[in-house]
Each structure stands twice: as C-alpha cells, then as structure tokens.
Subunit: 347 residues, 2 copies
C-alpha cells in the first residue's frame, strides 16, 4: 500500500482511506484519498499496518522509511507517539487537534470516531522533563472536553492528569468578635483571653496546650482577622504584614490572599504542612469538637508558575493517598485567585 511523506503529512490512496479512516479512524479523507498526520503514520508503521512510507521530501532520495527511520525524521516526537499509542491501546480513536493547540489530541468516546462529532477528552502530551506553565493547565481546564495532561516519563510510561477549575464553597460563617487583644510574638500571635467563638466555632488558631486558655494564631490567620477588625495588636495589621513578609517575602501576601478567598467562600484553611501543602481545608465547620475530614489540599503559587510534571505527580499522589483533592491556587496579590484541581485518572 503506497504512502508518501511530503515533509508535512503522509498521503495515501483510496484503499488506505477505506482501510484506515473508514474502519479505524486514522487520518482525514481528502478527495477520496487519505491524509495522515505523522503521528498517525508512525502508529501504522509501528503496528506493521504500513510496511514503510516513501520519503518524498524535496531533498530526499525517495527511499523507504520504516518505523525507526520515520521517527528519526523528527516529523513526529516520540512523546506524541507514546501518548497516541497508549490511547489507541486503550481502545480510543483520536486525532491531532486543529487550530492553535495543534499539539493536543482530540480523543473520541469509545466506540466513536472523527465522523461522530462527540469528544471525550482533549489530551496534551508532555515529557517528564519539560515544564508545563500554569497558563497551559488553565487552557486544558477550560477546553471543550475534559482536559488531560499526558505525561510520558523516562521509561515511556504514561500518567494522565485531569485538570479542572473547581468551585470552592463551604458553609462556615460565624460572627466574629471585635478587636480582640493579641500579642505579636516572633512568628505568631498570642491571645490571652480569647472569646469562645474564635477557636471553638470559627476554628481560628490553636490552643497552646490542651489545658491552656492561651490561643495562638498563625500570622496569616492574624492578618486576616486584623483585616476584619476582629483582632488588635500593637502596630495593627501593618505590623503583622511586616512580620509575615520578613520570612516569606511576597509569598506571605499570596498566602494571605488565598486565605482570605477561602474564608470568604465559607471554607476554613488550616496548615497543610504535614501533607506538604500550604493549606488543608474544612468546608463546613459548626464547631471544632465536631470537625469533619479535611477535603482539599491547597498549594499557593504565582499565576506565572511553571510546573515540573514531577512535582504535579508528587502532589497528586500524596493527595490521593490521603483521600483529598489537590488544588492549586494561582494568586496574584493585586488580583483574584484562580483555582485549578489536578487528579490522576485512567482514561
């Protein structure tokens, strides 16, 4: 079956169209014949459905290219090939996307193909070694279908990460006391005489010890409360911000921005330290005595963050192990917070 690589796509005749497109969803028909994207041709070569493609590039010698030689032309990256192959192995038909995100694959529901119009996933292949921008994940989360990042690791194994924009909402709203006096220490605030609602109901701070009346607030809790006139310390909120920035710099402002946004959404953030995150969150706190399971792990990042796929894998694996959802809060101190959740899936 003759097929020719012109440097851009692989062209084959009507019999190839019948055999590969009509019955198995490879390529696109073109005036009765077949046009294959390089990754599709590579898969047919790998499977032996095509024995070879003729090298019809202008400066080529017309020799036959087998699978390895075709991959060697750099027309298709092996990262794309491994993702394409894996999705085919899972029983999907898929096509390279049109338009600006041409590096993506459009994956059709099982049993459907390019002729049906339904889309199950938009899949973006990437290598373990390449960083992925927050903007790229945002794209995936707002795609026309479920967006998956497909990471090919150094052993060419695949990990699929589904990216979504979660709605963050809880029901924890308690009236706060006004102007509770606190002492600013080196790294937190001590409240000698806290009203019960502050900790027992609204879950601010932590007792210094089980049998102690003293309540200690983290700097981010204290800055939030001072911003709502619920806490008074020497030097006011400015002193808290200064102390917070002294150690963490602008990270402190980002964390405070996210803390504020979570509280505004009725969700209680507490430290996520033991899970390696900025916050763990509780959605519906009636009282500390009757605390439920924390459901989100939140990592605070600047909107310009570049994710190493390795770090995504680490976060997502840990969150899965403790039955929590991993959420990235992309926070600009001057602007709003954008939420992205990432979880491992099997397509």
């Amino acid at each position: 079956m003759a097929a020719t690589f012109d440097g851009d796509v692989v062209r084959a005749g009507e019999r190839a169209r019948e055999r590969f497109y009509d019955s198995r969803g490879y390529g696109r028909p073109d005036d009765g014949a077949l046009v294959l994207a390089p990754v599709e041709a590579a898969h047919l070569l790998f499977r032996g459905d095509l024995a070879a493609v003729r090298d019809g590039r202008p400066d080529a010698d017309g020799r036959d290219l087998d699978f390895a030689a075709f991959l060697g032309t750099a027309a298709v990256s092996e990262v794309d090939f491994f993702v394409y192959k894996d999705l085919r192995d899972r029983g999907f038909y898929l096509s390279p996307a049109d338009g600006p995100a041409a590096e993506d694959f459009v994956v059709y529901p099982r049993g459907a193909g390019p002729w049906d119009g339904a889309v199950a996933y938009r899949v973006r292949p990437t290598s373990e070694r390449s960083d992925v921008s927050a903007a790229s994940l945002r794209d995936l989360a707002t795609a026309d279908a479920a967006g998956l990042l497909a990471v090919v690791d150094e052993e060419s194994e695949l990990t699929y990460l589904a990216v979504e924009r979660p709605t963050i909402a809880g029901s924890t709203f308690h009236d706060l006391p006004a102007g509770v006096a606190g002492d600013l220490l080196a790294d937190r605030v001590l409240v000698a005489d806290p009203p019960a609602v502050l900790h027992e109901r609204a879950f601010y701070g932590q007792r210094v010890a089980d049998d102690s009346p003293l309540l200690q607030l983290s700097l981010v809790e204290a800055a939030h409360l001072a911003g709502r006139d619920a806490l008074a310390v020497d030097g006011g909120r400015a002193a808290l911000l200064e102390r917070g920035r002294a150690v963490e710099g602008e990270r402190f402002d980002r964390r405070l921005r996210v803390y504020d946004a979570l509280r505004t959404a009725g969700v209680v953030p507490k430290t996520g330290f033991k899970f390696g995150a900025d916050f763990r969150t509780y959605a519906d706190v009636e009282s500390v005595e009757a605390l439920g399971h924390s459901d989100l792990l939140v990592r605070v990042l600047p909107p310009t963050h570049e994710f190493a796929p390795r770090d995504l894998a680490l976060d997502v694996r840990l969150a899965g192990g403790v039955r929590k959802r991993m959420v990235y809060a992309l926070a600009d101190p001057e602007d709003g917070v954008e939420w992205l959740s990432v979880e491992r899936v099997t397509p």
Copy 2:
C-alpha cells in the same frame, strides 16, 4: 521563688538550683545558684513552676513578667519554646547547645540529664515558614549525635525529621557491550538491535512495547552509556548532552552526575516520576525478570539548595507511604555528590 531576667539569662538562687537543676535538669549551676536560658525559664513559667520572673533589664521597671509577657520580650522565640516543651513532654531533659550552633538543643537520653555526659539527639528548631539550607542539614547529619530538624507548623505541631549521610552501595555490575548503535530522537534514543545484556541484565532502557525488539533509552541513560563507549549515536555524547540541556539546562548535568555516581556505586537508577522524584533505585539487579523492590527515592538538587520544610514533609511522607528511603543528592556538576537522607521519626 525569686528569679530575675537580665536581658540575656534568668538568674535564681540556691533553692531554685536544687529544685530545677538538681532534680529536673533545668539550667546550669553557677556558684551554687542557677542560671536559666530564656527558653528554660519560659517553660517553668508556662508550667507554673515559676509564677513570674522580675524584669531586671537595664531600661525596665522591675515589674513581674508572666509567661505571655516573658514571651513578648522576644528573649525566646515561640518556635524554640514549642520544641523545648514538646521534648520535655516526651520525657527528655535538654539544654540549649553551646558554641556556634547555639540555636540547637542538646537532648539527653531518657533518664539522663546534663550531668551525665551522654547525648541522644541534637535538635534544630525551625518554623514551617522558614527555609532550611542544604548546608544546615549537612551540619545536622554530621553532628555528634543523631541530628533532628524539628519543624513547628502553623498550628504549633511538631514534626521531627532525622537527617543522615547514607552510604549508597549496590552490587549491580555487568560488562557492557561496546559501541551499540542508537538513533537520537527528540527526547530519547532508540536502539534497533540491542544486545540482551543492556536491558535484560543491566537494566538500561525500556522496551518500546512488550513484544517489540526496539529499546528506548532516556537521555541520561544514553549520555551515561556514551560516556563509557557503550553507545554510539550521530554527534556522539556531545549531541546527547546538547539535547539534554535544551530542555532542562544545567539540571540535566546534575542529574547525569548523580546517575553516574549511582551506577558507579552498583545501584540502578530508573525514573522516579510516579513518586515525584528524579530516580528510584535498585541496589542488586541480576536480571530485569527478577527485579526486587526499589529502595531509594532520589531527588537531585544543587548544593546551594534551600529547602522549604513543607517540601521536605511532602517528600518524606510520600517516601514513607511507599516504603522507600528519601535521599537528596546534592550535586555540583564540577564536583562530587553528597547524599543526605531524611526520614520522619518520633524521638
């Protein structure tokens, strides 16, 4: 019981020495009387063993300081206080260290005190919010006693991380073939006709598919093999290094340095992607068919790295969950590799 804070230490008399030092290991005797470090005085105040200390600082008014007021003087950080208190609660006697690392605590074996000369742990307190340098962890790993980083999180809960310098050694040594031909693709190397020892025994690379003879090598594996004349690609090792650096920059050189060191130690590194690490390692590979459990997770870092305690917690928790040891490889491309292992412990 009179005790006076002079701005540096708290001084008390002979009865205090008998009660606090002789029987419970607080402070140090000084000419029959007692000298307490601020953190020790804070603990006695917190417990109510001391009702108050007199503020004897030059510019002070001699008023009595209770626990909260004493913490407010900034003589003792609450991070140090929480660590001191936690170790006391666990039944240890401890003292602030002398000398250059005066921020550390020297912790005596249970049942022993400052008068015995034995040391169980050297403990370095830190806040969840403060970065810890690789150099600081190295110090702890080479301390006179087991070195622990004590991280106080924003709820003042304690996590103890033991830092050690592990010996990395395995028994995987196989004779390598010479000059095997490979094709350099975009992100890896394809070997069309690999000798069996390369993958089946020495565990280089991965089959492209279970039933395929094609072997694919990661760029770091390929660069290592090319450096030992076991692999030949167009452009030689230089082309592999160039391709590796194109995506990862100097990270690639650091990873290669660590890969080389692990192989030299008889240990097989494979990607640690699914665990969020650079490598997972196998110490004793006779053949891929009889592969054991991988025992280390290795993260490659520059020697100047500053660890966020949160990231340490994440790595260590994940490694613990999959029964592997977390190892940091501090690698200078021009120099050797230093290994640090970190694990969570309960003192």
